[in-house]
C-alpha cells in the first residue's frame, strides 16, 4: 500500500498538470478533474491491481472505465504518471494530431484507454460488459467505473443499474462523483435527483459512502470497504462526495469552472497553491 504523503504529493502534481493542460489550449474541464484528483491517484497508485504495460483485453488485472469523459485532464495526467505513456505527451492535450483528444478515446491508440466516453451515460453498460467478460474468462479481478452525479440524469444508467443487480454482477465497483454541480448550475437546480443512495439501494446495490472524497485516507478506507463487499452477489456503488475544483481556492464550490480554462494570472495563482512535487512535464 502506497504511503499517503506520496499520494498527496502526486495529487498536487496532477493538479498542476490539469491546470497547465487546460490553460495551454484555453479549453477543457478543470472543475471535475480537480475534484476527482485524489480518487484517481488512489485508484491507480494504490487500489487497482495492474499489469505492466497495456493490452486491450486486460485479462489478469483490474480495469477502470471513465464514463464522464470530460474530466479527461485528470485521467490523462494519472495515466501518464502511472507509466502508460510519456508524461511529455500531456503537452499535446486537445491539439491536432494528438492521442489526447478532448474526450478519451481508443481511436488514436492511447495506452490506458479502453473505451471512448464523452457522450454521457454509457460507461456503466460498458463496465458491465467487461465485468461479464471477466466472469466468463474465470478472471477474478475487478472492474471500477466512475460517473458524474449529473450524468445519472441519462436514462441508460438506470437500465445498467437495474441489470447489474438483476444479473448479480458483483465484480463491479461503480463510483459516483457527488459534487452536486453540472454545467447549468447545481444538480438540485437543474434536475433534483432525490436521494441517490436510496435509489441505488432500491435497485439492489450495496452502497458505500465516502463523505470526504478529497481525503486520501478516507478514499482508501472507503474503497477498501467497497472491495470487501464484492463477490457477494450484488454490485457495489460508492458515493464519493467531492468538491469541484478542489485544491485551487477560486475554483472550489462552484460550477463556473466545469468547462472553463484559467487565464495566465489565474494559472499562476493555481500553481502557487500547488507547488511542484514530481516534476512538471
Amino acid at each position: 500500500m502506497a504511503d499517503t504523503q506520496q499520494l498527496k504529493d502526486l495529487t498536487t502534481q496532477v493538479r498542476r498538470d490539469i491546470l497547465r493542460m487546460v490553460h495551454k489550449v484555453n479549453s477543457g474541464h478543470p472543475g471535475g478533474s480537480l475534484g476527482c484528483a485524489e480518487f484517481f491517484v488512489t485508484l491507480y497508485s494504490d487500489l487497482m491491481e495492474r499489469k505492466e504495460g497495456f493490452d486491450m483485453d486486460g485479462i489478469g488485472e483490474d480495469l477502470f472505465f471513465l464514463s464522464n469523459g470530460h474530466i479527461s485532464p485528470v485521467y490523462y495526467s494519472v495515466l501518464a504518471r502511472s507509466g502508460y505513456f510519456p508524461v511529455d505527451e500531456l503537452n499535446t492535450f486537445r491539439l491536432i494530431n494528438s492521442r489526447l483528444q478532448g474526450h478519451p478515446t481508443t481511436h488514436e491508440g492511447l495506452p490506458g484507454i479502453r473505451i471512448a466516453s464523452g457522450s454521457l451515460g454509457q460507461g456503466m453498460s460498458v463496465a458491465l460488459g467487461a465485468a461479464q467478460a471477466k466472469k466468463i474468462n474465470g478472471d477474478n479481478h475487478l472492474i471500477y467505473s466512475l460517473h458524474g452525479d449529473g450524468e445519472l440524469q441519462e436514462g441508460q444508467n438506470w437500465e445498467a443499474i437495474m441489470y447489474a443487480s438483476g444479473k448479480k454482477v458483483d465484480n463491479l465497483i461503480s463510483t459516483i462523483d457527488l459534487n452536486g454541480q453540472q454545467i447549468d448550475g447545481s444538480t438540485d437546480t437543474v434536475l433534483p435527483m432525490g436521494n441517490i443512495r436510496e435509489k441505488f439501494e432500491a435497485f439492489g446495490w450495496i452502497v458505500i459512502d465516502i463523505e470526504k472524497g478529497n481525503n486520501i485516507d478516507a478514499i482508501k478506507k472507503g474503497m477498501a470497504e467497497a472491495k470487501s463487499k464484492t463477490g457477494k452477489g450484488k454490485p457495489v456503488c460508492v458515493l464519493l462526495k467531492t468538491v469541484m475544483g478542489n485544491g485551487v481556492d477560486f475554483m472550489m464550490h462552484t460550477h463556473a469552472w466545469h468547462g472553463k480554462a484559467p487565464n495566465d494570472e489565474q494559472l499562476a495563482i493555481g500553481l502557487a497553491q500547488n507547488p511542484e512535487t514530481f516534476g512538471d512535464y
Partner: protein, 317 residues
C-alpha cells in the same frame, strides 16, 4: 440465361439463428445478447447449447450495445439481437461512441428490417437503417438475400475483426443461394449475365430482381443481376464492370432511396462513369400495416417495380 429456382421458402432470420448456433459450437469466443426477442431472432438453439455465453438484457437496447462493447474487452465476440429499428435508430449514439468510434468487435444483428415486417406497422418497419449504419466510419453493412446467404454471412462476420451491421428480415422468402457457400464480405455475386441493363439488388429484393430478369428476358431484354449483399464496403469494381457492358443500372432495396444502396451506387458511378440509374426503393416515406406482399406491391418494391424501372432506364440510354 441462367435461371434460379427454389424448393422451399424460409425466413432469413432463421439463417441467422442457424449460423449463430453453428458459431456456438465452433467459436468459443462468440457470445450472444438479446433484448427480449429470443424467439423472433431465432437465438434459441445457441442459448440452449451455450447458456453461459448468452446474456438476456431485457428491454434495454442502449444498455445492450454498451454491454456488447464491454464484452469485447476480454476477447469476446458479441452478437446482439433485436429488431432493426431497435438495433439502429434507437441506439445510434451508443453504437457511434461505444462501438464504432471505439473500434469494438461487435456484430449488430438486426431482424425484421423494412416493410416486410408487415402487420406491426411503421413504428417497427425501419427503412433508414442502412443509411444510419453506413454513415458510421468503419462500420461494415451487410444485407443478405435468403436463408443460406444469411447463415453464411453470420459465420463470416465472426471471422472479421471490427463492427458489423447484419440486416435481415421476418417473412419466409425463396431459398435459392447454395447451401454452405463461402461468404466474402464486400464481394458482389453476379447471378445472371446480361447486356441491356444491370440490376443491383440487396436483401429480399434479390429474388425479385431474378423474377424481373426472367420477365424481361421474355420481352427480349437481357438483364444482368448482381447480388450486393455488402453495402459497405461496396464492390465498386463489380458495378463498374457491369455498367461498362450494359450502360444503365437499376438499384433495388427494401429501404428509403435516401441513404440506401442506390445512393452508394450513384456515388461510384458519378466518380467513375456517369450512367443512367433508376431506384427501386421507398420514396422518403414511412411504411404501414399490411401483409408483406401487399406492402411490397404498394411501396414499389417487387419484381413489377423492377421491370418498370428497368424499361425506364434503358429508354434513358
Amino acid at each position: 440465361m441462367k435461371t434460379y429456382t427454389y424448393i422451399e421458402k424460409k425466413d432469413t432470420r432463421s439463417g441467422f439463428g442457424a449460423g449463430l448456433a453453428e458459431l456456438g459450437r465452433t467459436n468459443p469466443n462468440v457470445v450472444a445478447l438479446c433484448a427480449d426477442l429470443i424467439g423472433s431472432l431465432k437465438m434459441d438453439k445457441f442459448i440452449e447449447e451455450n447458456p453461459e455465453r448468452f446474456f438476456q438484457i431485457g428491454i434495454a437496447e442502449a444498455n445492450m450495445m454498451g454491454i456488447a462493447a464491454g464484452l469485447t474487452i476480454g476477447g469476446k465476440i458479441p452478437f446482439t439481437g433485436t429488431f432493426a429499428n431497435f438495433s439502429t435508430g434507437r441506439v445510434y449514439d451508443q453504437i457511434r461512441q461505444s462501438i464504432a468510434y471505439s473500434g469494438k468487435n461487435v456484430k449488430i444483428c438486426a431482424s425484421h428490417a423494412g416493410v416486410t415486417l408487415g402487420e406491426d406497422g411503421a413504428t417497427h418497419q425501419i427503412l433508414e437503417d442502412i443509411g444510419l449504419m453506413k454513415m458510421l466510419p468503419g462500420m461494415v453493412v451487410i444485407n443478405p438475400c435468403d436463408y443460406n446467404q444469411t447463415k453464411a454471412a453470420t459465420l463470416a462476420i465472426a471471422d472479421y475483426e471490427g463492427p458489423v451491421y447484419l440486416r435481415f428480415g421476418r417473412p419466409a422468402v425463396p431459398v435459392f443461394m447454395p447451401e454452405n457457400q463461402k461468404f466474402e464480405i464486400g464481394k458482389a455475386i453476379q447471378l445472371t449475365e446480361g447486356t441491356d441493363v444491370t440490376i443491383v439488388a440487396t436483401g429480399h429484393l434479390v429474388w425479385e430482381a431474378l423474377e424481373a430478369s426472367k420477365a424481361l428476358h421474355e420481352h427480349g431484354i437481357s438483364a444482368e443481376v448482381i447480388n450486393i449483399h455488402t453495402i459497405k464496403p461496396l464492390d465498386d469494381e463489380a458495378i463498374l464492370k457491369s455498367v461498362a457492358k450494359t450502360g444503365c443500372i437499376v438499384t433495388a432495396e427494401e429501404h428509403n432511396y435516401l441513404g440506401g444502396l442506390g445512393e452508394s451506387v450513384s456515388r461510384v458511378l458519378a466518380l467513375n462513369k456517369p450512367t443512367p440509374q433508376e431506384f427501386v426503393a421507398t420514396n422518403d416515406t414511412f411504411g404501414e400495416s399490411g401483409t408483406p406482399a401487399l406492402l411490397m406491391e404498394k411501396y414499389g418494391l417487387n419484381s413489377n417495380a423492377i421491370i418498370k424501372k428497368a424499361k425506364a432506364v434503358i429508354a434513358r440510354k
